[in-house]
């Protein structure tokens, strides 16, 4: 069975797994720890599609009405049951 890769859908913004160096720079730039980042669940279709595991940080670049293009960063976490 061929599965749809959600990342190729035009309405799904670009998800990129960040390298440890990028992560270190990100955390230093904002003077934060990983805990301060917004989260997303490990079973999110986009997370599954790009192969990220809990603990990784994903850089999302999406179109923005106000700024043209906006980036945000999310920490992948396990989804708690219920």
């Amino acid at each position: 069975m061929t599965r749809l890769n959600v990342l190729f859908h035009e309405m799904v913004p670009d998800h990129q797994i960040m390298t440890p160096e990028e992560v270190a720079k990100l955390l230093a730039d904002y003077d934060i720890t990983e805990e301060h980042l917004p989260k997303m669940y490990h079973d999110d279709p986009a997370v599954k599609a790009c192969g990220a595991k809990p603990g990784m940080i994903i850089c999302i670049t999406r179109k923005s009405q106000t700024a043209g293009e906006a980036t945000s960063y999310r920490l992948v976490v396990r989804r708690p049951k219920k």
């Binding site: 904002y30 003077d31 934060i32 805990e35 301060h36 980042l37 917004p38 923005s64 009405q65 106000t66 700024a67 906006a70 980036t71 945000s72 960063y73 708690p80 049951k81 219920k82």
Partner: protein, 889 residues
């Protein structure tokens, strides 16, 4: 000041019977409070060891006075255990997931393993629920058959015991579980199994949800009040506790006397009822306990819940000092940044002032005036004087007063509470405070009268009108608060709304009509007329006259408006009164004078109306803010309101019933149009009834007919409007208001003069009412226009009884819609604010919660403050181009 501490964790547990007894200072057994002499019964509900509520007495337990003694718990030993209503769900779950015999969790080792494998985090919310256990299975440990447990509201549990009879028939017997049975079962659940269920057995054993001993709250929690006639009136909780003790004692007596089972069960149920309503008097399936007067009692849960409960009412909701409230009324002579305050309020409210060497003489004179400032013109007085040791002296005026003596005593370092005077800064607010412009700071103008006065141009941000609205006023008490009020909260700083990046303050109603009447087409004024218009504005010099005829100088209306504009304004746009002609003449030749052209602050052509000066539009105001800032913008609004009010008074502006009159010819035309439309509708109905109607794609014949009828009647109504407006010109006030955008529309005019038109419910013709017809005045199945809510009369000509009824139906729908909308949006607002209230933009441009967690990496993704944006965009390109080029772009 104590340093703030961070909460590490919060543990929720249950009170065990042992801890209830340990903290209890008194076993309460007497079901009454005070005896006939007014002394509390020992071991009664007002036992002196439970705390003190009478001033002067000392607590029997801790020896402290009233106010210092926090009160002490007592307890009641219940004759039999009863269920705590708050835990019925937990009890149900536990009964269903554990064995009825051995108390173990109804899962074998492998299943438990699966669940615990998921749990790497000890605080995870992943617990075993009812759904994880199959119904009516056999216990994997003791092999006992399990049965279905039914929960019956509010507090009873029934076990459905199934037994297979001799010939394979299944017998079902319902067996009611008593609280004692349930407690016994819960006691058997092992600690390890409880942990799997998400319960920490060290702080919450499940059997503690079944009460065997009831804590009696201290009297300080339920103080009795003494009424004016000297009678004591007890708190609702005390009343309820009396009930519980009375039943409990009777229960015990019956039990000891060996009463029959039936009576015991009845008493047990009664005790359960009283304990239930004591904890929560709004349980589903349980009649609320009532006061003698029939009012439901306010018991424990009711004290906490809801809008007036402890959380929303007492903890989140605060009352404040230094505030006042009264009716508002308009005063166009005030600046938008001012508020008129009645003398009575200005005398009552105060600002603290520290006495220094520099101001001591002023302070002395204020103290001498004292608390009663007789008239507006007098300098302000003072209400209190505070000495450095914290003593406060209340100033009393008159011959017996202390003003003069205190004035002599005062020295540097003291503080006085000075009365409000002109130019003090205050916060002004109107509820509901839906956005930040609902609280703005104004400068005071002390006035006669009893109402707050404000410039009508600041009504839009407060959403205020003068039909009896009241507003609140707060006086900032510190230097920091005053600085913030002036720099951030001032009206002039809030002209631009963060909602759409444009001015929210501006002219309304008569301002727009007035400025429209002034600037439309070209008019010439003599010197005295010109000065009449502009004498209250900040004009300094008379400009060169626009023309001189017969040696008499004349100034144009456009010049009059240009007087209030800064010189650097260059704007080119179409006004509200633009009719969108095709082709547009552009530039200065517009027949309706709708093309606004402002060069170097001079209005060359065009009419100033809603688009130029209206609240939430205000194109010119917006440009002035960008060019010259907030202060100049405020001055412009002040000038504008004064000029426009003068302009509308120049000729006067009114509306009467005869302004809706049309000519004979027009009435005939309207009649013809409506007759033709009704005939047309009748003809279509005829076609439909014969079945010849061609349905539109995707619709039934009936739907097609309805649509055609609606369209036809709508068109007829519009045509009557056209006929009416052909007759009515700018000499008609309603036309002026509609065209300028001040109030109302051409549709409203058409309804007054021409025809009201089709009344609709949910966008369809009115069909509800009797069987196959809307009213008994029509034949069954009549599809005609008059039978389904077409009103062919105008408001002027008057409605027939059936028309009136249909009109009321349509009108009611509008009212219901608004009522529903406000309640829903209010709730949405509450939820939004609760979720967003603590977020702030940090210095690095990120939006963060109080914990420093990032919500947004850049505020609004572009980091732009919408209140400082040009209608949402970071740069106003068109405005800059127009300013530089001085021509339309």
């Amino acid at each position: 000041m104590t340093s703030p501490k961070r909460i590490g964790k919060i543990e929720f547990g249950l009170l065990s019977p042992k801890s209830i007894r340990d903290m209890s200072v008194c076993k309460v057994i007497w079901p009454d409070t005070y005896d006939d002499d007014g002394f509390p019964y020992p071991k009664g509900l007002m036992d002196p060891s439970l705390g003190v509520i009478d001033p002067g007495l000392r607590c029997k337990t801790c020896g402290q006075k009233q106010g210092d003694c926090p009160g002490h718990f007592g307890h009641i030993d219940l004759a039999k255990p009863v269920i705590h209503v708050g835990y019925t769900r937990l009890i149900r779950k536990l009964l269903r997931v554990t064995c009825r015999e051995c108390g173990r969790l109804l899962l074998d080792k492998d299943e438990i393993e699966r669940f615990s494998a998921l749990e790497d985090d000890p605080y995870s919310a992943e617990t075993i629920g009812e759904k994880d256990i199959k119904k009516e299975r056999i216990c994997p440990y003791c092999g006992d058959q399990q049965f279905k447990i039914n929960f019956e509201k509010p507090t009873s549990f029934v076990e459905v015991v199934t037994e297979s009879g001799e010939n394979g028939k299944i017998h079902k017997t319902e067996h009611k579980l008593t609280s004692a049975d349930i407690r016994e079962r819960l006691e058997k659940i092992p600690d390890d199994d409880l942990r799997l269920l998400g319960i920490d057995p060290t702080v919450a054993r499940p059997e503690w949800t079944i009460l065997t001993v009831l804590p009696v709250p201290p009297v300080t929690v339920r103080p009795s009040i003494i009424l004016e006639n000297g009678q004591r009136s007890e708190d609702d909780l005390t009343h309820k506790l009396v009930d519980i003790i009375r039943i409990n004692q009777r229960f015990k007596e019956n039990q000891d006397a060996g009463a029959p089972q039936l009576i015991i069960e009845d008493l047990w149920e009664l005790l359960q009822y009283h304990v239930t309503t004591y904890l929560d008097n709004e349980v589903a399936g349980c009649p609320p306990a009532r006061h003698r007067s029939g009012r439901p009692l306010k018991t424990l849960s009711q004290r906490l819940k809801g809008k007036d409960g402890r959380f929303r009412g007492s903890l989140s909701g605060k009352r404040v000092n230094f505030s006042s409230r009264t009716v508002i009324s308009p005063d166009p002579n005030l600046s938008i940044g001012e508020v008129g305050v009645p003398l009575a309020i200005a005398n009552e409210m105060s600002v603290p002032v520290r006495v220094t060497k520099q101001n001591i003489e002023d302070i002395r004179s204020m103290i001498r005036i004292g608390p009663n400032r007789p008239t507006l013109r007098d300098p302000c007085g003072a209400n209190y004087v505070s000495r450095p040791d914290g003593r406060r002296i209340r100033l009393i005026s008159g011959p017996d007063g202390n003003c003069d003596t205190v004035a002599e005593m005062v020295e540097s370092g003291w503080k006085i509470d000075r009365q409000l005077r002109d130019d003090d800064i205050v916060l002004f607010n109107r509820q509901p405070s839906l956005h930040r412009m609902s609280i703005m700071s104004h400068r005071i103008k002390v006035m006669n009268g009893r109402t707050f006065r404000l410039n009508p141009a600041v009504c839009p941000p407060y959403n205020a009108d003068f039909d009896g609205d009241e507003m609140n006023l707060h006086v900032p008490q510190t230097e920091e608060a005053r600085a913030e009020a002036e720099l951030l909260v001032a009206v002039q700083e809030n002209i631009l709304s963060p909602r759409f990046g444009g001015p929210i303050i501006g002219g309304l109603h008569d301002h727009i009509s007035g400025i429209f009447l002034l600037t439309n087409q070209v008019k010439w004024y003599t010197k005295s007329q010109f000065l009449y218009l502009l004498k209250y504005t900040s004009m300094e010099h008379l400009p060169e006259p626009g023309k001189i005829e017969d040696d008499i100088p004349y100034w144009s209306n456009k010049q009059a408006f240009s007087m209030i504009l800064p010189d650097s304004v260059n704007m080119f746009y179409k006004a509200t009164c633009c009719r969108n002609c095709d082709p547009c003449t552009k530039d200065t030749n517009c027949p309706h004078d709708a093309y606004v052209k402002i060069v170097d602050g001079q209005l060359i052509s065009g009419t100033i109306d809603k688009k130029s000066v209206g609240a939430m539009d205000g194109a010119i105001l917006n440009r002035i803010i960008r060019l010259h800032g907030m202060k100049r913008a405020r001055e412009y609004i002040d000038d504008l309101t004064k000029l426009s009010i003068r302009a509308i008074m120049f000729n006067g502006f009114s509306y009467g019933i005869n302004d809706t009159d049309l000519g004979k010819e027009e009435y005939k035309q309207i009649r013809d149009v409506l007759d033709k439309a009704e005939a047309d509708v009748a003809q279509r109905i005829n076609v439909y009834e014969q079945g010849h109607l061609e349905p539109m794609p995707g619709r039934t014949q009936e739907e097609t007919l309805e649509m055609q009828v609606m369209k036809e009647l709508g068109k007829a109504r519009d045509r009557t409007g056209e006929i009416a407006s052909r007759h009515l010109g700018f000499e008609n006030s309603a036309v002026v208001m509609a065209v300028s955008g001040a109030r109302g529309s051409m549709l409203n005019m058409a309804q007054m003069a021409g025809c009201i038109g089709q009344q609709a419910v949910r966008g369809e013709r009115i069909v509800r009412g009797y069987e196959d017809r809307t009213l008994p005045h029509f034949k069954r199945g009549d599809k005609g226009s008059d039978a389904h809510g077409f009103v062919r009369n105008s408001y002027k000509s008057g409605l027939t009884p059936t028309e009136f009824f249909f009109h009321a139906i349509g009108g009611r729908e509008g009212l219901v819609d608004t009522a529903v909308r406000t309640s829903q949006s209010g709730y949405l607002q509450r939820r939004m604010i609760n979720a967003l209230q603590d977020l702030k933009v940090a210095y690095d441009g990120t939006v963060r919660s109080t914990g420093g967690k990032i919500i947004q990496f850049k505020y609004g993704e572009d980091g732009t403050d919408p209140a400082k944006s040009a209608s949402g965009l970071p740069v106003d390109v068109k405005g800059i181009a127009e300013s530089v080029l001085k021509e339309a772009v």
